[in-house]
């Protein structure tokens, strides 16, 4: 498939000592870690690999961030590598651009999804365009980390999924891991990339543990992945939604429906190869996301798959999304967020064609 990224993107050489902060003298090759710790290990490894890598954000120093993702980094690397910034998101992103022009590789933490918008102008009007404006003479190796998504029962502006705004912006790459291992290596690949990357961390997945294999992944940052093979229906999602899709697939299997689940990993660009291959096999596609459905990543995938695999489709591509309302009070968030049952309702509709 010409648009599959997997074979073309150069894979960077790993550094030798990918070890979590508390490891013993003998380097472990893997560990059972929650995503927050896996991200921490990835950030730490990137800082060890390259002295130009900086962390900056609100409360990321001695506190280690409100989600503790940068825990221990300030103690280890000091306040010239881990910068507690003033409380101003545009200031964080804007100064990161200046630092990148100077040759640094800043990793900015935005404290919560709903707080990114004060920095939106610097991200979309400046960060994303600097290289293009300079006719390719500069690079913008800036990573913007954004904890995002629902399922944590929090207050307004703390459960949003704003990824489509950034995916719509030329010059940015947008990614989101679904599990601790991907979080570990994707963070390092994102920091090593010479393009600006919006790194969405699914905060409802920060604490469940999973195996993290240290060292090189050998996988390009933007490769989507089949996480469960199946033959009747294809489900596509990213971030925390992948867990929901796998749960839906388990439930469907009991009823004799074979579901293939694809983890996008990258929202911009989208690696369509595995999706189109899967749809050619199943003829049925359901795309699920926590974000609002109107003008969304799911809409984009539905349109593209329809354009490219029209004769393989046996049903319209269906979307399962958050409703087109502000994220509701937490007491009713389970009605807003796509659940395995809501995904299966769409699976049933697709198979009914």
């Amino acid at each position: 498939m010409s648009d599959t990224i997997v074979t073309e993107t150069p894979v960077r050489e790993p550094a030798a000592s990918a070890v979590p902060a508390a490891a013993s003298a003998v380097p472990a090759t893997s560990a059972n870690l929650p995503m927050a710790k896996a991200l921490n290990a990835g950030l730490r490894q990137a800082m060890l690999d390259n002295p130009k890598v900086l962390m900056m954000g609100e409360d990321i120093g001695p506190l280690g961030g409100v989600f503790r993702v940068t825990e221990g980094l300030h103690a280890e690397f000091g306040d010239k590598r881990v910068l507690d910034t003033p409380l101003a998101e545009s200031g964080i992103v804007g100064t990161a651009i200046g630092l990148a022009l100077r040759g640094y590789r800043p990793v900015c933490e935005i404290q919560f999804d709903g707080f990114v918008f004060p920095g939106f102008d610097q991200i979309t009007s400046q960060l994303s365009r600097m290289r293009n404006r300079h006719e390719g003479q500069v690079t913008m190796p800036v990573v913007i980390r954004i904890p995002y998504g629902g399922h944590i029962g929090s207050i307004e502006h703390h459960q949003e999924s704003p990824e489509a705004y950034f995916a719509h912006t030329p010059g940015l790459r947008v990614v989101s891991p679904s599990n601790p291992h991907d979080a570990y290596w994707m963070m390092q690949e994102a920091i090593a990339s010479d393009d600006p990357i919006i790194f969405f961390e699914p905060k409802s997945r920060y604490w469940p543990k999973g195996e993290v294999r240290f060292g090189a992944s050998g996988i390009p940052l933007h490769a989507s992945r089949v996480v469960r093979a199946g033959s009747d229906v294809t489900l596509v999602g990213h971030g925390a939604m992948v867990t929901v899709l796998l749960q839906a697939a388990e439930l469907a299997a009991v009823e004799g429906i074979s579901i293939e689940v694809i983890d996008l990993r990258s929202i911009s660009p989208i690696d369509y190869g595995p999706i189109l291959t899967s749809v050619e096999k199943t003829g049925h596609l359901v795309v699920a996301q926590e974000a609002y459905g109107f003008v969304s990543v799911g809409s984009e995938i539905a349109a593209t798959v329809t354009e490219r695999s029209f004769y393989h489709l046996e049903a319209p591509v269906l979307r399962v999304s958050g409703f087109d309302t502000p994220f509701p009070p937490a007491a009713v968030e389970t009605h807003f967020l796509p659940s395995p049952d809501r995904v299966l309702e769409a699976v049933d509709r697709s198979l009914a064609y």
Partner: protein, 375 residues
């Protein structure tokens, strides 16, 4: 501009008639003028005259359909020339979009500015090859944060505040009275003060943000805001090239020496329109304009030079050089060629991007599909 009173904060060296009559506030800055040779003074004059003539030529080019837009700097030459000459080669300059002569002094070919305004590029030059004069930024005040981040990088690199003024680096960032209201300008001041960056904020108060007077932006003189952010603020007569030089030299020296950032408010006036798309007669009092024209920075400095005994031949030669430069700019502006269409795609990402590659290939096929189309 504030009246010349004993307690006036305004730093002024030259009277409007070109006599050396330093204000009280100028006292601490006067020693910096000792650095200037007569050659420097002649260069100040030459650059102000050349850029004003260039400005007129660029406006003419726009009126003749050769530029999409022009952004005149008429009236602000002294603030820009004085501050630019206070920089050192190792410094970095972050302009807004009206600092043409600052670019020229830093080594930029002014035709490169016209390339952007002619619509053949979104940038126009490589800062590192042009005196560290960074690209124009069209979203107001965005560059103040880039400048502050860059200055933070100097600190992290340890290339400033070492005690060697020949190598210690600093940043100067230009913005205006309109941009001073933007959140980014204020966040930049917060970050600069917090990290004590080696940086000068050079605010040209030209009194108008398109059609809105500075009184809508601020009820207090803008230099006073510096105190609220925890840095020194100086108000200078921006139509006085010597005062502009001296004030900027001191604050840049302090920045390089590790004494942190400062804010300079240069009081000047946008004599022309905001851009060629603007019509100031719709909102501006002609008497206000006349009062500022009477304080013209070039007329004032010419009188000063004549007082020093600079010969008429020099002044005439500068006028001739300005004419020649403008004619050369016009000729070369008309020779600017459009880029290849691949420029749409080539620099959006540093690393391969399948969607962009696919769209570029599609456009090539589409163009090639026409009779006589290129591949």
């Amino acid at each position: 501009m504030a009246a010349r009173e004993n307690d006036s904060p305004l730093v002024q060296v030259l009277s409007t008639s070109g006599l050396v009559e330093p204000s009280e506030a100028a006292a601490e800055f006067m020693p910096y003028l000792d650095r200037l040779t007569e050659d420097d003074l002649r260069r100040f004059y030459r650059d102000m005259v050349v850029v004003r003539r260039f400005d007129k030529e660029a406006a003419n080019l726009q009126r003749q359909g050769q530029l999409a837009l022009w952004v005149p700097s008429h009236g602000q030459e002294a603030a820009q020339v004085g501050s630019a000459y206070a920089t050192r080669p190792q410094d970095h300059v972050f302009p807004s979009y009206r600092e043409h002569v600052v670019g020229m002094i830093r080594g930029l070919d002014l035709v490169d500015i016209l390339r952007m305004l002619r619509g053949v590029t979104l940038g126009g030059w490589t800062p590192e090859d042009h005196g560290n004069f960074h690209l124009y930024t069209l979203v107001l005040a965005s560059q103040t944060l880039h400048a502050t981040g860059y200055a933070m990088g100097m600190q992290l690199d340890g290339t400033t505040a070492t005690g060697n003024p020949e190598t210690d680096e600093a940043v100067i960032v230009y913005y205006g009275d309109g941009a001073s209201s933007q959140g980014d300008a204020n966040e930049a001041l917060v970050f600069a003060a917090s990290y004590q960056t080696p940086q000068v904020f050079f605010l040209q108060n030209n009194h108008w943000a398109i059609s809105v007077p500075v009184t809508r932006q601020s009820r207090t003189p803008l230099y006073l805001r510096a105190g609220g952010f925890g840095m020194p603020g100086t108000q200078v007569d921006g139509n006085d090239v010597l005062a502009s030089y001296a004030v900027t030299a001191k604050h840049l020296d302090d920045a390089r020496a590790g004494k942190g950032p400062a804010l300079i408010e240069a009081m000047t006036y946008r004599v022309g329109a905001h851009t060629t798309a603007d019509d100031p007669t719709k909102y501006r009092d002609p008497e206000e304009l006349a009062a500022w024209v009477a304080k013209d920075p070039i007329v004032r400095f010419r009188a000063y030079l004549q007082g020093l005994g600079v010969e008429q031949d020099f002044l005439d030669a500068v006028d001739e050089e300005a004419e020649d430069h403008a004619a050369d700019v016009r000729r070369r502006a008309l020779e600017i060629r459009s880029p290849e269409r691949s420029v749409i795609f080539d620099n959006v990402y540093a690393e391969p991007h399948p969607l962009i590659q696919e769209q570029k290939a599609w456009l090539d096929r589409y163009e090639a599909s026409f009779e006589g189309g290129d591949a």
